[in-house]
């Protein structure tokens, strides 16, 4: 088989599948976003051009959801990476050896193995101000009850804490596995030159694992922009709109209550564009930093 034949046999079916699974829904969403399709109305569907997009930027609830989405991403990605790769992984890598290390890795993976909806329900009960175990323990210190999911000032951070809990341990486990493959010689060379432990991580170890670590980082980043299931179970976007992310608002507008499919589609397209821009900016920044 020639190289060209090989390409045709293996790549064409892949592109066809990709087209139907990824591009067709995307093109459809864009097509709908230019119309006035409303599930609750039997009026004929017609093209309205960019009307939905223009309306988006005068919609205070959309702008709020945009702000919440960005805040959510920064908090969950930032803290998951900081706790997982920055604190936990070096701690375990330096201090846990042999079977203890294996046990740690196993334990770290458990939160991520829990189905997200199940984990969310579990935490919702734990957070409850009347029957939750967290408030129960806080009561021994004369604190609370705290409305973790009910107070508009805490709700987003309380939900984000669960996401960070699920991801930081997984990121720590993956980082520990990456750290295992670093040649000992370069670490020993650094130590001989008098580098302190944090300097070894900052200047020698982390730069070596950056390329594979970037994949983990981007997976987390994209996942953070799609935390619908988590937020839906815990707060459904409330209290008020305090935890209403873009995908949550698109759901309420499209299917949840309003039935404005076209308007919700325009939000999805804006979200896609924002995701691409964000990932490009972060990617370039990280690559430059690594170089």
């Amino acid at each position: 088989m020639t190289r060209k034949q090989f390409f045709l046999v293996f790549m064409i079916p892949t592109f066809i599948i990709l087209f139907f699974l990824a591009f067709y829904p995307l093109l459809n969403a864009f097509y709908y976003s230019l119309q006035n399709w409303d599930l609750r109305s039997s009026r004929p569907i017609r093209f309205v051009g960019l009307k939905n997009y223009i309306q988006l930027f005068t919609d205070a609830r959309f702008l709020n959801s945009l702000r919440i989405s960005l805040l959510w991403s920064v908090i969950t990605v930032g803290f998951s990476v900081f706790f997982g790769a920055g604190l936990l992984a070096p701690l375990i890598n330096d201090n846990a050896k042999g079977s203890f290390r294996t046990i740690c890795l196993f334990i770290f993976i458990i939160p991520a193995l829990l189905p997200r909806v199940g984990a969310a329900y579990m935490w919702r009960l734990m957070y409850s101000s009347s029957i939750g175990i967290i408030n129960y323990f806080l009561s021994f210190f004369g604190i609370g009850p705290i409305g973790f999911l009910e107070n508009p000032s805490y709700a987003l951070y309380s939900v984000a804490a669960i996401d960070i809990w699920q991801w930081s341990f997984l990121i720590a486990a993956l980082t520990i596995i990456l750290l295992q493959d670093i040649p000992k010689e370069i670490i020993e060379a650094g130590s001989l030159d008098g580098a302190k432990r944090w300097q070894l991580y900052r200047f020698i170890i982390f730069p070596v694992i950056v390329p594979p670590f970037l994949s983990i980082f981007f997976i987390k980043m994209m996942e953070s922009l799609r935390s619908f299931d988590f937020i839906f179970v815990l707060t459904a976007g409330g209290p008020g709109v305090a935890t209403e992310t873009l995908d949550m608002y698109a759901y309420w507008q499209g299917i949840g209550s309003a039935g404005r499919v076209s308007y919700a589609s325009s939000m999805s397209i804006v979200m896609l564009v924002i995701t691409i821009i964000l990932i490009t900016i972060v990617w370039r920044g990280l690559v430059r930093w690594h170089e």
Binding site: L39, R40, S41, S42, S128, S129, S130, I131, N135, S139, P145, G147, L149, E150, N151, P152, S153, A236, G238, P239, G240, V241, A242, W252, I255, G256, S257, A258, G259
Partner: protein
């Protein structure tokens, strides 16, 4: 080789003879898909489904979704004409929307005579009727009854409150968190959640959703008073975002002194398996506001989908299923099994089984409640959208008030009214 081929051929022929008649009969058998929500009485009647399936040669499949998802799923199925479901679970909040868009078939055209549609309580049928056409067979209704802790009231010598002012005094008297909360009210956002529960208060304080010209007017001084009162109740609840079931779960756990809640929740309160207060509860009619006492009416029923039933055969099958599900026999089964309040027939409420199943004090409270039943939400297609937005604004107020933060009721209602005007203006 030839022998193997012969054996293979024989097996193929035998299998075909066995399978083909089965396929033919499977093709003749109609399947009715029912879009519904998980409820105790549905699980109960699901046990009796085989008797209907065998009698009518119809397969029935229940598809369960939580209340909000059930509403959006049925809207999606009907509006896109997907037709995945033949029978929809409908309620007072979406009958108008479904009727205006011709998504439901008039139920009386296909409700079998043998099941006696005239036996349904007329006010309940009226809720599922739009422009004089009935779109659903009622299967349950809801109104508010006062549930109070008789043991605590007797201990402190407190009388059962008759007015909203007295009710609030009682709530404050018993409020001693975290051991005991004064009351529990719904705060979770949604047209069928906090807004549904808030609506009778709006009326009892003299407010209304639309003025005489059909213009949204729920930002009036009366509406502000109603929200102020509701916020007082929220402040004495275990949480400002309780859902439909959370509030009664707290009461049944013995953590709440008094609630006004759906009559049909009494089945759960009376059940010793899930309620620690099953023998400590007293019942009364709802407390009266400045404009008198009002109980909000909710009616849930079953309707036939236009998209899901393109043929006469399917329409008839769906009608037969609805007839059987809402039959007198099944209503009595529910009474005997401890779900007797999820019924809609006059004959059931007058039956000896019903009288034997419930305390006289509760039956009396329910009778009084039925006298003050009113449809407090708007029965217009735009209601879910308007109600959901108001629900968000109310939830914001409730959670801020509960957290001790500043809030502005007038601004929140003005915002919700502006949104309602925009939605109504578009249609």
């Amino acid at each position: 080789m030839k022998k193997s081929l012969f054996v293979l051929l024989l097996i193929t022929i035998t299998m075909s003879l066995l399978i083909i008649p089965g396929l033919a009969s499977a093709q003749n058998k109609i399947t009715i898909n029912v879009l519904t929500q998980p409820r105790r009485e549905w699980e109960l009647l699901e046990q009796y489904l085989p008797e209907f399936e065998e009698k009518e040669n119809i397969d029935v499949v229940f598809h369960y979704f939580a209340e909000l998802e059930r509403r959006s799923k049925s809207r999606l199925d009907a509006s896109t004409k997907a037709g995945q479901y033949q029978v929809y679970y409908i309620d007072e909040a979406n009958v108008a929307e479904f009727a205006v868009n011709n998504w439901l078939i008039p139920i009386k055209d296909y409700y079998p005579e043998e099941y006696d549609f005239a036996d349904f309580s007329e006010p309940l049928v009226a809720v599922l009727t739009f422009n004089d056409i009935t779109y659903g067979a009622p299967m349950t209704f809801e109104g508010n009854v006062m549930f109070y802790r008789k043991d605590l009231f007797e201990r402190d010598g407190i009388a059962v409150p008759q007015t909203l002012d007295e009710y609030l005094e009682v709530v404050k008297h018993f409020h001693n968190p975290p051991e005991l909360y004064g009351t529990a009210v719904r705060g979770l956002r949604g047209s069928g959640m906090n807004v549904w529960r808030f609506s009778p208060y709006l009326k009892m304080f003299g407010g209304q959703y639309l003025d005489e010209n059909g213009v949204p007017a729920f930002n009036s001084p009366e509406a502000v008073k109603a929200v102020e009162y509701y916020i007082e109740l929220i402040k004495h609840s275990p949480s400002p975002t309780l859902s439909w079931s959370d509030a009664m779960d707290n009461f049944n756990a013995g953590k709440v002194a008094i609630v006004e809640y759906a009559n049909l929740k009494m089945d759960y309160t009376m059940d010793p398996k899930g309620s620690v207060v099953y023998d400590k509860v007293g019942y009364s009619k709802p407390a009266a506001g400045p404009m008198g006492a009002i109980s909000n009416t909710a009616v849930h029923g079953l309707g036939i989908s236009v998209a899901g039933c393109p043929t006469e055969e399917l329409k008839a099958a769906a009608g037969k299923f609805i007839g059987w599900f809402t039959s007198k026999e099944n209503e009595i089964r529910k009474v005997v099994a401890g779900s007797g309040l999820t019924n809609a027939r006059k004959s059931t409420f007058a039956s000896s089984e019903f009288a034997a199943a419930y305390p006289a004090e509760f039956v009396e409270a329910q009778v009084e409640m039925m006298k003050i039943q009113q449809m407090c939400i708007l029965q217009i297609p735009e209601w879910p959208e308007i109600g959901d937005y108001l629900g968000i604004k109310l939830e914001e107020l409730f959670t801020k008030a509960y957290a001790g933060q500043s809030y502005d009721i007038q601004a929140a209602l003005d915002d919700a009214v502006a949104y309602a005007k925009e939605v109504l203006g578009k249609k």
